[in-house]
Symmetry: D2
Amino acid sequence: MSANTFGKLFSVTTFGESHGPAIGCVVDGCPPGLALTPDDFRHDLARRATGKTRHTSARHEADEVEILSGVYEGLTTGTPIALLIRNTDQRSKDYAKIAEQFRPGHADYTYWQKYGIRDPRGGGRSSARETTMRVAAGVIAKKWLAQRYGVRVQGFMSQIGDITPAGYDLTVVEDNPFFWPHAAQVDALEAYMDALRKSGDSVGARVDVIADGLPPGWGEPIYGKLDGELAAALMSINAVKGVEIGDGFASVAQLGSEHRDHMAASGFASNHAGGILGGISTGQPLRCSTAFKPTSSLRLPVDSLDIHGDTVEVITTGRHDPCVGIRATPICEAMVALVLIDQALRHRAQCGDVGDITPRIPGHVGG
Amino acid sequence: MSANTFGKLFSVTTFGESHGPAIGCVVDGCPPGLALTPDDFRHDLARRATGKTRHTSARHEADEVEILSGVYEGLTTGTPIALLIRNTDQRSKDYAKIAEQFRPGHADYTYWQKYGIRDPRGGGRSSARETTMRVAAGVIAKKWLAQRYGVRVQGFMSQIGDITPAGYDLTVVEDNPFFWPHAAQVDALEAYMDALRKSGDSVGARVDVIADGLPPGWGEPIYGKLDGELAAALMSINAVKGVEIGDGFASVAQLGSEHRDHMAASGFASNHAGGILGGISTGQPLRCSTAFKPTSSLRLPVDSLDIHGDTVEVITTGRHDPCVGIRATPICEAMVALVLIDQALRHRAQCGDVGDITPRIPGHVGG
Amino acid sequence: MSANTFGKLFSVTTFGESHGPAIGCVVDGCPPGLALTPDDFRHDLARRATGKTRHTSARHEADEVEILSGVYEGLTTGTPIALLIRNTDQRSKDYAKIAEQFRPGHADYTYWQKYGIRDPRGGGRSSARETTMRVAAGVIAKKWLAQRYGVRVQGFMSQIGDITPAGYDLTVVEDNPFFWPHAAQVDALEAYMDALRKSGDSVGARVDVIADGLPPGWGEPIYGKLDGELAAALMSINAVKGVEIGDGFASVAQLGSEHRDHMAASGFASNHAGGILGGISTGQPLRCSTAFKPTSSLRLPVDSLDIHGDTVEVITTGRHDPCVGIRATPICEAMVALVLIDQALRHRAQCGDVGDITPRIPGHVGG
Amino acid sequence: MSANTFGKLFSVTTFGESHGPAIGCVVDGCPPGLALTPDDFRHDLARRATGKTRHTSARHEADEVEILSGVYEGLTTGTPIALLIRNTDQRSKDYAKIAEQFRPGHADYTYWQKYGIRDPRGGGRSSARETTMRVAAGVIAKKWLAQRYGVRVQGFMSQIGDITPAGYDLTVVEDNPFFWPHAAQVDALEAYMDALRKSGDSVGARVDVIADGLPPGWGEPIYGKLDGELAAALMSINAVKGVEIGDGFASVAQLGSEHRDHMAASGFASNHAGGILGGISTGQPLRCSTAFKPTSSLRLPVDSLDIHGDTVEVITTGRHDPCVGIRATPICEAMVALVLIDQALRHRAQCGDVGDITPRIPGHVGG
């Protein structure tokens, strides 16, 4: 029930403020016997990390994960896995001024209205720093899903501003700082981002995630639908304003004869649905898409309010990405993985494990 | 934890299959002392009802709600409120054939793969008939929110196929069968739908919901965010493929200087955020949008599969709307109301009630 | 999260007041494919039913269960199973007087203080009538546990007033109205109860439940322990004031060398623990015990208070058992079964199913 | 849903193994604005601490709590409060032998059977070391309950072996190492414990907790009853085998005319119920009692089993209390406080805060 907990059976509880002593999480419900070391977290945390390119902000944190519990001699034991990252880059600066101001587009105003108190340092709890622990927890989920079921989760950026990919080659996604699926556009994106940064402004982004290898049958009707939980998971990421499954909003202008995916013995003929029907996986690749708003922290001045009700001018001088979406790909992947592992565990609770069940349809492998 | 339960403190558990004996729900957590009679449900159930116009399917059900518990002498008592609707229009027909076929675009295949058994009559549990109980539960939520906080939730259709409103006048929404906000377009929509129905095909729709009157401070970071829960709520409705908050996917192509909403002592200058920052309400009107795919049940034949793995041709002959989105407006409203009441109760649990708290910002009313 | 819901994965939500239109429950999470008909409920509902003997109150209700959903052609489908029992024996009488009085030992006063409103007819929601649905839900749990794992749950009465069994023969429990495990004492119990009823007074009781056949490994540390959940389940039954696992309070005066159960290759040498160590089943028979207070509704007058703060004399004239514990045996069994099925499902979610796991200890069958 | 989480609205998630790097917890849902510093934890942690007297084991840990999040400038912010205690006294020793043995009376066997892997160092997750974090979380709950509602929670020992208090003077409880309510017996208890320790054996204990100051109305029917949740909370403590509310098991032999508490305008005439009726607080002092089994780790050898299925002789040589109950008083208090704060928040969610409600009964203060 904790609002800082995600997942029913594979539960992730995160804690920590941007500039507090540490951030961390407790992962409960992980199956026992999974090999896990601090090294497992390095790759995805680096993918998410600030300072990776000149297009992302320059916070230099090691983000070294300490495993505090739940692992014995390199294997998970079934007890809660606590992960901790110390905040080493807590710049001492005077927060007195910003403590009384509400930055437009940020959660300053709403936290103040809700709680009557807030930690103003770096956005406090509302900072995207919290997503570090989502990525860490997602590493565990991804690893188990891959080993147990062969599930693979991959994200990429599908739009920055009004630029969309001229092609989709997922093998090049990890080779550029934008997680962009078309190598020939990377130079243009670099130029676009440089110009944007110089202007002091920012822009939005769209991130897609594909998961393949999942069996048919994951997802729980009615309020625990796979797509419903993906929507909650992705919408809970900082700066997200929209979520689509499969064809998403494009479905509005489609005809039924076009949208519905025909089926044959060899599988589905198309995947407008994005791998989910009735809230349950079809066995096809899962496809979802997430809209990120532009960064709200800008060097450009803006009118705002302070806690006394007075008008103030706010200018953000610190480090900030001109496009928060750039670092969002591993976060989106993590949230998809967290949804999938939770549904996988729930499925085997109620229906038995995949493979325990006689294949439902003779000669048919699903998907 | 039940997958058929929505909400943490104002919990709605629905049950029932499309052609089973009855559908119903249990609403737990409703504050005591709210006046409630069967009459309260009539208006919204009629708005949702099939058979309202020639554009929606012709199932003629009274949908009379029986209150089985939780109300004494016309007032809620704080104990669970069970609502029941008998399914009176269960046409006797031969389901033997469709019991073995998977209709493309439907949950037939996935329920079969998940459970190894399914109720094939009218889609069983996956039928949109379930949404009747969402609307019923939403009636209670709307009524309490209106009386206690003055919150008002109103939906309208914002797109059918590629037709969008030429204007937005919410006072006309209830005067036409499409919940369309521009009266001058209604005749054209009628013609469009008639042509569509003749063709045997269907089309998607988009529904917007606006909620005003809510105070700042509702919503729980991080995984209980107001927008995260709206996304889950709306995505859990049958046929939904996308959810947006505020500017949604349009934010991707916006600049930060454009998107972030300036603040002054008199309030926010704009509402790109849709009334939510950091997962918490700002006090501005809440704005969200939902994409519905086109109806999958068509008179047009389509290739599919049966449970033996053989190819079959499926033709749907029964009653079906050419646009499922037409009846979705009250359902979307209900889900928004259910999210809001739950957050309202959670807010006063942790932070005290609105009004108990000294106004945070002198001379400022919020929003 | 609903306070009227029991269980995390096998969730039972009950509703209904003693003299309202109906009582019912929604069982969600039941595995698909279990055979289930209204007949399945008859035996246990009859065991619990009022009017069974002259020692229990004379409410004559058929308690016929209607299955509203979740079952298709006699098999559970994995969707929520709603059960309904109409209250047919709602005597019309004047509740005006008791509506303003608080009966000592009852929940009248506390419901009034909590909600400011209550249904006074027959105790409303606080009536033991609610336990009918626990028994009904327990029937489903027992059936699945027996078929899937061979688990058998059996209760008996182990104390009435200060009378304890002179012997324990569980084969005679179902042959007498007290669920008493020693046939030779039944006549004396009859005489004791007759005298008690004549006196207008009542007495407490103790009920034991034994469950055997459960595998080692069920139960979740730390706050989801098997014994912790049994305690919650049993203490939630009306009139319960104490719960013990294994030797219970007798453990306080035991030495460690006496209490700890030695282990050998053939199994445990004793079972002081009651089949649970560290919150997890050992594979031995589960043993728990529950204390019921004496019935509070007596013909003997008692001073009390009314809602105006005035002193009143309360006399209960209606039908009431002189010992509420007599009918409690099937209720206790049901609650144990509900705890066990929930833990069984949670165990296979995290750890895989029993049998999927290589036997942990060579040549050892557990327990 | 995490099994390592306690509480619905005031949620406490604990983690950590006895000899792992650290233990800790995340407290979510704490109301904002509560003053909190590391000093607040010292008193209760010292009361629980090992090494306090020669009757408790000699583990010398500072148990210094670090607040990692959720507190800004000395006040809680409404975001999750993470608490951490490093395990400084991790003696390096050879665990190879005990890693393969099951100590009778411990969770070794059941963890092995459940997970197929366990951390054998000091009992791992099943160690009573976990209760340190319950006490820490309980400190926050107690402080808020005292400040907001004037609730006071006090425990004491009511039985060791077969010794019971000759009198009840709660003012002396904190003056002796046994939390014993009768000063004149303390010397005899010292002698008893010395003899017990010399014998190598151990004994059980009973701990009572009284909470006063709570208003009528806390507790949620039916499965969220105050007594049901107390039972779960107390039974989840290591070594607990029984829980009683009010007169508990003594109620079994009581008559109804004796047990039911008469009411007058001045309040209740007695408190057999222990302050709870129908699962809801009456406003009288809450009374509950908990049975602790004797310590299972003894110097006396015992037959047991190892993971290969072979018989072994187990002798515990390490530090262990001859009576685990001695340190349990602050743990029981903490669990009672955690139940109460959760119910307090849930009550004001559904029913509004105490004081918001017009006094239900004129001239009556409750209790």
